[in-house]
């Protein structure tokens, strides 16, 4: 086993990986940028090394500094988390060359699946159905225009090195094509250092269903079933769950086998995810391979009971996979809601700032993967994910209720977050019915900020504010009730229970 693991990431995923290492008894080293000096992930590690200035290019994306940090700390393995260097085959190769084990796929497989265009070619050859689209990177705008016309609008512009929706744009008519390609290139360049984009046919109202795969270095491979991640904004997932309400045993089996075929064709090792789009007629298309641990991996962990990070580390250390497909089962239902520092009422604008107050939910069946703390300033430089709230319950309906209840008890003050928005999505009858697709938020929640209203909560907040104004904290009146029980009828009497986000 490894002597020491460097976790080349920040935030909640760094905390998650560091904890897994600790459970396995492996010493750890965290890395950080100047903007992250006070970040909670540093406290989850045995030691921490400063990489450089705040911009990711000078810190979390800087290969030389990352390798140097590993050498300095005496680490023999690197866990890249997700994002940053996690799907960078140059970095994986660099690690291999430096005698560092990259905890992820081998660099050849990473290179193949990381190049979305090459991956599509390989999968098409292996007999996996893919979404119609360009088979090579276009050189001119004219090429794009012709391809888009041939495919028929709407089309989707995608970054070849992409992931997480970065660089991705849906174009509904020719007029918007050039601007979308331009924006896609810029975003791809800044996020991945590679500005290649290409065009695919846009499948309308599909479900996003992905399969988790685990492979060892000895040719053994299993899948850990699906995750449905159809609730997305800007092509970024917001809510993920497993099992998918859209799959039955037969379809699950077929998609699972296809996922294994994809990974075998890529010569894949370690943990990875095969993403599919599932259309209304239950046809599924290979989308891409995410060659890393996914943000949404906890839902799989909760229904299969398998610790994916631990399995990644074991596989990277060369240990043979001990899981057998026929032994794996899905038990109950798990849902994850992503807590972003974003203002959902204003088009999900990032909301940086200081966390003035934090109260986390503690319920049975609730898991919170978090990278924040009270008093901590959310930097503007990185992805705005703060935490993930994941619940497990016996069935989907119970899991929805549990997540809604936990979200109601989750308070982050000082910045805008997606907590309330998530609760309203979970409470939506169409979501409850399992009728989800990737256009779900656009259809049902595009005017969310304007229609949300809750007079009871508002009145309570105002009462507390007025009280606070008259009795400032620390004025010595703490814990002294301002009045005794109410006697006359009050507007509260006509209200139902005060628990919210649950069906009444």
């Amino acid at each position: 086993m490894f002597k020491k693991i460097l976790v080349a990431n920040r935030g909640e995923i760094a905390v998650r990986v560091l904890r897994a290492c600790r459970e396995m008894g492996i010493p750890t080293v965290a890395v950080y940028s100047e903007a992250d000096r006070m970040s909670p992930h540093l406290r989850a590690a045995d030691e921490a090394i400063l990489l450089g200035p705040a911009p990711a290019a000078d810190s979390y994306l800087h290969m030389d500094r990352m390798v140097e940090a590993a050498r300095q700390a005496g680490a023999d393995a690197v866990h890249p988390g997700y994002g940053f260097l996690s799907e960078n085959s140059d970095f994986a190769r660099r690690c291999e060359g430096e005698g560092l084990v990259f905890i992820g796929p081998n660099s050849r497989a990473l290179e193949l699946v990381g190049d979305k265009v090459r991956a599509r070619q390989t999968m098409e050859k292996a007999g996996v159905s893919i979404i119609p689209g360009m088979k090579s990177i276009p050189r001119t705008m004219e090429e794009c225009r012709q391809a888009a016309q041939g495919l028929g609008y709407p089309v989707i512009v995608k970054a070849s090195a992409g992931g997480g929706g970065k660089g991705m744009r849906v174009v509904s008519e020719e007029e918007g094509l050039e601007a979308a390609i331009e924006a896609g290139r810029r975003e791809a360049k800044s996020a991945f250092g590679d500005e290649s984009v290409y065009i695919e046919k846009c499948i309308e109202e599909p479900r996003h269903v992905e399969f988790q795969v685990l492979a060892d270095n000895h040719g053994r491979m299993v899948h850990l079933f699906e995750r449905e991640c159809s609730i997305q904004r800007r092509h970024q997932k917001l809510i993920e769950e497993t099992p998918s309400p859209a799959l039955d045993a037969e379809l699950r089996d077929r998609m699972g086998s296809t996922a294994l075929k994809v990974m075998a064709a890529a010569g894949y090792t370690n943990a990875g995810t095969v993403e599919f789009l599932l259309d209304k007629d239950r046809r599924f298309y290979f989308l891409e391979v995410n060659a890393r641990l996914q943000v949404e991996h906890p839902v799989t962990e909760l229904v299969t009971g398998i610790d994916l990070v631990r399995r990644q580390i074991l596989a990277a250390a060369g240990e043979p996979l001990t899981l057998r497909q026929e032994d794996l089962r899905q038990r109950g239902h798990a849902i994850e809601g992503r807590i972003y520092a974003e203002d959902a009422g204003r088009g999900f604008l990032p909301s940086a700032g200081k966390i003035l107050f934090l109260k986390e939910p503690h319920h049975p069946g609730v898991r919170l993967d978090s990278g924040i703390a009270a008093g901590w300033e959310v930097p503007v430089y990185y992805d705005p994910i703060l935490a993930k709230l994941i619940v497990w319950a016996e069935d989907r309906e119970l899991a929805c209720r549990r997540l809604a209840a936990a979200l109601s008890d989750y308070v982050i003050l000082g910045i805008q977050t997606t907590i309330e928005f998530l609760r309203d999505v979970i409470g939506h009858p169409e979501f409850r019915a399992g009728r989800t697709h990737t256009g779900f938020l656009g259809r049902h929640f595009s005017d969310w900020g304007e229609q949300r209203g809750d007079e009871t909560a508002r009145r309570l907040a105002l009462a507390a504010a007025a009280f606070d104004g008259m009795n400032p904290a620390g004025s010595g009146r703490r814990a002294s009730p301002a009045s005794v029980a109410a006697r006359r009828p009050s507007p509260w009497d006509s209200l139902g229970r005060w628990r919210m986000g649950e069906p009444s």
Partner: protein, 174 residues
């Protein structure tokens, strides 16, 4: 004692009166009794009608953040209201509208030039924050009066990016 607040952009008046050990609240024409106590520096419990709710609150300069029943509110006092709508018009200099940065970030593209006529919803500039591009669009038909930033510049939240002169008709109507 009366308290005035701006909550989600709406003016609210709450009065909180202590009478013989009881607290009587008036808000929006409704009067009721409540039992209110501080639980901790950031938490206040409000009890009324036999039910209890813990309201969390924290301040940041003129703004206060509150959460009740899982709903968040930003509250400010009218005299020093800072809850301006970002990215939208803000009449300051005569009839000109100032377009402000909705969040701290980096200007990556300025799509218009001074003197240019713009349509409502037309893209003015693109500001990147947290790796996402945010298209700042014009809230009105008008003319670009002044551009305060250039591509590559790092901007703070609320920084004026562009000033617009509304179209004559609209200015007259508004």
């Amino acid at each position: 004692m009366e308290h005035e607040y701006i909550l989600d952009g709406i003016h609210r008046t709450v009065s909180l009166e202590k009478k013989e050990g009881r607290t009587i609240l008036r808000e929006g024409g409704v009067e009721f009794e409540a039992e209110i106590r501080r639980i901790s520096e950031n938490e206040i419990e409000v009890r009324a009608g036999g039910r209890s709710c813990t309201v969390s609150l924290a301040g940041d300069g003129p703004r206060r953040f509150l959460n009740a029943l899982g709903r968040s509110f930003v509250l400010s006092e009218p005299s020093r209201d800072s809850s301006r709508f970002a990215g939208s018009e803000d009449k300051e200099v005569g009839q000109a509208a100032a377009i402000k940065a909705p969040m701290p970030g980096r200007v990556i593209k300025v799509s218009v030039s001074e003197g240019q006529t713009v349509r409502k919803h037309q893209s003015l500039l693109i500001v990147e924050a947290m790796k996402m591009e945010n298209d700042i669009r014009s809230p009105l038909n008008g003319v670009v009066k002044k551009i305060h930033v250039s591509a590559g510049e790092i901007v703070d939240s609320e920084k004026i990016l562009v000033e617009l002169e509304p179209e004559a008709q609209e200015a007259a109507a508004g």
